[in-house]
Symmetry: D2
Subunit: 364 residues, 4 copies
C-alpha cells in the first residue's frame, strides 16, 4: 500500500491512482497528470471498460497513454499508490475510506461523500440528491477529517488534509462568485437568485434521453428547479462567511446545447447602495494572488474559460446601486472538476498550486 | 394608394406590402403570408438587395416566391397596399407614418417607433436604445392612435387600431410570463430579476463581431446588463396591470450559441406563500382561450417552441412558497416577431387570430 | 378492419394508424397528418410509452394532439384503419404484412422490409444491415406486390400499390441526385464516390454513445465506410436506369454534430466532356413538374431544406468537363422519411402529391 | 535588427515578432509561444487594434499576456526580433521579404506568398485565389530560398531555410493523407476526389455573411467547388512524389457549423487490389517517428484532434481492394496553421520539433 507520503516530494513523482478512470472526470485528471512532473499515474481503475487500454476507450489519447484499465476491487483500491483520486459517483469513496485511512493513503473524492463536516449535513444533502438512496454515511467518523476543497477558501487546511471533498461544479462558481459579498456582509438579506447554465459534459458520458444529441442540440432545458443537490454545499459554505447567519439560494439550473462550461448569473440586493467600481475593487483585493480567479473588466463569457482552470467573475450594479449581478464562468470539467482537483492535490502535497494547470482557454 | 380597407375581407385577400423585406423579420412574415389565404403580398421593399428576386436573396424560397425587391422610396411605401408591415429598424416607420395615416393605410411596425403612448415614454426608450440617436419622435401626434401589440392584453383595441407597434422579442415573453402576477397583485414588491437567453437571430442578418460564428459558437455572452431597451416597454406595460404601481425588472440578456429562441427565467417574491398548483390554475384561467400561450405541466424548453408561434410558460415555487420562478420560452422570430405580428394583423382585420399560424415547433 | 378504401376519398378523411408512433419517424408523420385534411389519425401504436398521451411524450405537441399511445398487439395493428404506416425498425412490418393483405389494408413501411423486389435482394440487404439478424423475409410472397417509394421514379405504380417501402434517408438523396446521369448513360463507368453527411436524428430517439451530446457536438464521425445498408437499395435502383448495367457506389457516411439534414456530395467521371449548363438543363427537364426536387442555380446547403420536403440538387463540373460533382441536400426526417412517406401516401390515394407538405425550410 | 540568430539557442530564448498578431492565426502562435521556453515574444504588430493590449482584444488571455499591439510600419517589421512570423493574408510578407533577407532575419509566413518554388507556380496560384489580385510576386528572387513547410516531407531543408511558407490548412491534411500513396506509386491514375469539411475559424475573425452565426449554425455550405486555391499547392507537392507524374485533385470544400477542425475524405483507385492492413502498415512505416501524425486503428473524427497539433489518418478499402478511402482530421488552427508553424520554427532553430506542442485534443 501507500508509502505514507504526503508532506513532500523528494522521491520522484507521487504515484497516483485514479478510480473511475474512464468517465469524463477520470479522463480529465488523467490528462492533467500526463503533463505534470510531480505526479505519475500508477493505475487506472474502472468498472466499465476494465481490460481495455485507455487509448482504445478514448482514441484522442493515442500516443499519449497506454495504461490498461483495471477492475476496482477492494484490494486494488490504493494499491501501489501514494494518493488516490476517486472520480466516481456518490457512495463509492465512502466505502473505501476507512481502509485507505488505515493505510495512511490520502485521497480526493469528486462526489458529495466528503463535502460535509457532519453526518447531519450529509444526510440533508443525501435527501436532496436524486441518485443517493441512503442518507447514512458509511464512514461518518472520517467526515471531520475531510476538507471541502475550494482552494480559495481553504488553502491552509488542505496542506494537511488526509481527505479532500472536491466541490460540485455549480457550487464552486456560485461560492467564488458570492464569497466576497457574504464575507463583507454586503447583502440585504443573504438571499440570492441564481440562474445556472451548464454544458452537457457535467452529466458524464453515460447516454441518456436528456443528453441525447437530437434532443439537446439548440435547446435550453431547465431542470430540478429549487432542487439541485449542489445548493446544499453552496448554502452551507456561504452561511459560514461573514458575521451574518444563513444563506439562501434560489437556484435554477439550465442544461444548454453545448458540451463544456458553466455560467451562473446571480442576483442579490445590497444592504446599501454600492458602485460597480467599489465592488470590483473589493473582489480584486479578495482574489489577489489567486492564480485561477480572474475578476474581469468586461463580462464573463462561457468560452472565455473553456479548457482552462479559470473562474472568470464579472459584476454589474443597477442604477440605484441596490441590486448587484455577479456572473461567474468556468469550465465544468476543469475548475468545476479535474482542474480544481489538481489544484487541491498540488496544495495537499506542497506543490505550486498552479502546477500542471497552465492550459489557456481554447478560443475561438 | 390603399383602398381604405380595414374592417372586413370581402374583396379577396388583403394586399400587404413589406418594408424591410430582406431582413430576417421581413423574411419571416413573408413566409407566413405565403401560406395565409387572407393576405397577398403585393410588394417587397428593401434598401439592401433592391432589384434582386427574393429567392435569389434567400435560396430556400426557391419555387415559392419570385417577387423582386424594390427600393423603399417615399412614393413606394404604401403604394398599392391595403396594409403595410414595417420590418425595419427604429426610426423608419415614424418617417412614413403621417403619409400613410393621410392615405388611410393601416400599418404594423416591428421597431420601437410605435410601442409607446406618449412622446415622453418614447424619449425614455430612445435614450435607453444604443442605436436610436434622436429622442424626439417624428410623428408624435400619432402615438396615441397606436396600440402596443400584445394580443393577449389588447385584443379588443387591435380591431380598430390604425397603427400597431409590435413588441420587442424579449418584452413579449416577459410580459406574458409576468402579467398574471401583476394583474393579481401577487408580488411582494413588483420587482423581478430576469435572466433572458436569446439565440442570435434576434440581431438580424447583418454580420458583426458579436454574431461571428467562431466567436458565438458554444458560447454564452451576457450583454447590456441592466441596460437593454426592451425593459422600458415591459416595465411600462406591467406597471399598468393590477392595483399596484410601477414595475422594476433587473434584466440580464445573454446571447447563446444557437439561432432561434428566447427563454427567460424570472424570479420574484410573492406577497404571501402560494403553491405551484394555485399559480398554475391562475395562469391557466388567465390564458384560457388564447391560442398561443401554453401553460405547461412540465418545464418550458427552448426547442419546445422553435418555429412555432407558441409562448410556453412554466412555473415553480420555493419550498416555503415565497419565491416564484416563471420560465417563458418562445421563438424570437415567431411569437417574438413575425408570428405575433401576423396574430396582430389577423385581429386588426377581423380574421381568425390563429390563421396562418399553425406551424408546429420543429422538434427534434 | 379496413374499409377496403384505396382509390378515392369520398367518405371523409382516410383513417390512418401509425405503428411505432413515438419514435421520430412516427412523430414526423403524425405532425404532417395533423395538418392534412385528407387523413385522420385513428390510432397511435408503440411499444414504448404505451398508455401515455402523445403530448406527454412530446410536450411540443401540447394543444395539438391528445391521442393516447396503444400497445401494438397483433389484433391492434390495422384495427379501424384504412391505411397503416409502419414507422418501425426492420422486421416489424413484414410480421404484420400477410394479415393486413388479407384484410385489404394498404400500408407503407419505413424500414427495409419492403424495399426489395425479391427475397434474394432482401437477403443481400439483410446481410449488409448490422441490425437485421435473419436474412429470410417473413412475407416474401408479398415482395413483388410492394413498390419502392421514390415518387419521382415510381409515381405511376404507387397509385395501385398495396404496399410501399419508403426509401432509406441516404438512398433517396443519392438516387435523386444520380438518376439523370444513369438514365442518360452519361457516366464513364457507372461508379460514383459519395460522401454523405447526416444529422443525428436519422438514428432515432434512443440514446446511444454515438449520439451522446458531449461526444457528437462539434464533431464529425465517419462510420460504416463501404458498409452502409442504404447502398444496397440505391445501387439496385440506379442499376436499372439507362441502357447500361450495374451501379457501384463508394459510400462514406459521416455523422455530424447537427440534428437535421443529409447532404451528399457525389463524384463521378463523365463519358464525354460536358458543361455544367448542359447538365443543369438535363436535370431541370428531368425534374420538371416534380414539386419537391429543386435544381438550384447555386449550391445546395444543409439548412436550405431543413424542415421541408425538398431535395435540393446542385451540380459542378471540372474545367475539362470530365468530372461531375452532384450535391443533394434534404431533411432526413422529411424527404428522407416522413415527408416522402406522405408524398407516397398522397399518390397511393389519388390526392395531390404535395398535399400537407407545404412547410417551407426553417431558415435561419 | 536581428542578431543573425538561426542555428542555435545559447543566448536565451529567441526573440520572435508576430505580424498580424490580432487575427486567429496570430493569436494561435502567440498562445503557443507563451508556453514555449525557447521563444520570447518581443512584439506584436497588427493594423487592427494597434494601441490596445492584446488581453483587451482577447479577454481570455487575461493574466497571461499584457503586450500592446503596435502598428506594422516598414521600420517596425523585424525590429528587435531574431525571427518574424507573418500571420497575415497573401501579399504582406512578400513586401517585407527583401528587407528582412538583407538583415539576415529568418521568417515564416502563413500565406501563399512563399509556398511556391517559382514565379510561374506562384502566378498559377495567384490566379486561383479570389483575394490575390496581382499574379506577379514582389520578391520572386527569394522564392527559391523558401521552403514549403510540411515538416513530414521537408524536415531536413527546414533546418537552414531562411524563409518558410506554412501550408494552407486544407493542403496539409490532403498532403499527409495522400503522400504515402503517391510516394509508393500505388494509385491507378494519380487522381483523387476529396471532400473537405472545415470549421469556420479557417476564415479568420472578420465578420462576413458566410460566417454569420444565424446562417452557418446547423448548416453545411459547399463552396468554391473545383476552385479552392489550396488545391494548387497540394497538387504541386503530390506531383513530385513517387515515380509518376502529375496529380489531380477534385476538391469540394464544405463549410460546417462548427468552429475548429478539418476532416477530409479522399477517394482514389488503386493500381492493384490491396488490403487495408497492408496500407495501414505502409502508412505506419512512413510516419514512424513523426510526433504529430497518428495512423489510427479506427476512423478519424473531427473532435479527436481539436486543440492539438495532431493529424489523424485512417484508411478503408472496398471489398475488391480497388478503391481506397483516406480520412485525415486535424485542427485547422493547429496542425493546419499555428501548431504546424511552431513545428517548422522548432526545426528551423534546431529545437525538439514537438517542443511547446504537447496540448492534448480537448475532448469531450
Amino acid at each position: 500500500m501507500g508509502r505514507n507520503r504526503g508532506t513532500d516530494v523528494t522521491d520522484g513523482p507521487l504515484r497516483v491512482q485514479i478510480v473511475g478512470a474512464t468517465g469524463y472526470g477520470g479522463l480529465g485528471i488523467l490528462e492533467l497528470f500526463l503533463g505534470h512532473p510531480g505526479f505519475e499515474v500508477s493505475s487506472l481503475l474502472a468498472r466499465d471498460d476494465a481490460g481495455r487500454r485507455i487509448d482504445a476507450v478514448y482514441p484522442h489519447l493515442a500516443g499519449r497513454c497506454e495504461l490498461v484499465v483495471e477492475r476496482p476491487g477492494p484490494e486494488a483500491v490504493g494499491s501501489g499508490a501514494d494518493v488516490v483520486v476517486f472520480a466516481t459517483p456518490d457512495g463509492v469513496a465512502q466505502g473505501h475510506a476507512a481502509a485507505l485511512a488505515r493505510s495512511g493513503i490520502r485521497f480526493l473524492d469528486y462526489s458529495g461523500d466528503f463535502r460535509f463536516r457532519s453526518s447531519g449535513d450529509y444526510a440533508f444533502y443525501a435527501r436532496a440528491h436524486p441518485a443517493v438512496l441512503d442518507e447514512r454515511h458509511q464512514a461518518e467518523e472520517l467526515l471531520e477529517r475531510a476538507v471541502y476543497g475550494v482552494p480559495e477558501l481553504s488553502a491552509g487546511s488542505l496542506r494537511e488534509a488526509p481527505i479532500v471533498g472536491n466541490p460540485g461544479c455549480f457550487a464552486i462558481g456560485i461560492i467564488l462568485g458570492l464569497a466576497p459579498l457574504f464575507e463583507g456582509d454586503l447583502l440585504a438579506d443573504r438571499e440570492v437568485s441564481v440562474d445556472g447554465l451548464t454544458g452537457s459534459s457535467g452529466a458524464g458520458k453515460k447516454p441518456s434521453a436528456a443528453h441525447h444529441f437530437s434532443h439537446l442540440s439548440d435547446n435550453v432545458v431547465p431542470y430540478r428547479v429549487f432542487a439541485h443537490q449542489h445548493v446544499v454545499e453552496a448554502e452551507l459554505t456561504l452561511a459560514r462567511l461573514g458575521a451574518g447567519d444563513g444563506a439562501t439560494l434560489h437556484f435554477v439550473p439550465h442544461l444548454l446545447g453545448t458540451t463544456r462550461g458553466i455560467l451562473s448569473t446571480m442576483h442579490a440586493r445590497l444592504k446599501r447602495p454600492t458602485s460597480r467600481d467599489d465592488l470590483l475593487a473589493l473582489y480584486r483585493e479578495r482574489y489577489d494572488g489567486e492564480p485561477f480567479v480572474r475578476v474581469l473588466d468586461g463580462l464573463s463569457t462561457l468560452k472565455g474559460t473553456a479548457g482552462s482552470n479559470y473562474c472568470d467573475i464579472s459584476l454589474a450594479t443597477s442604477a440605484d446601486g441596490r441590486h448587484v449581478v455577479v456572473i461567474a464562468s468556468l469550465d465544468n470539467l476543469m475548475k468545476g472538476q479535474s482542474g480544481n482537483a489538481l489544484q487541491n492535490l498540488n496544495l495537499m502535497f506542497g506543490l505550486d498550486p498552479a502546477a500542471g494547470l497552465g492550459r489557456l482557454p481554447l478560443y475561438p
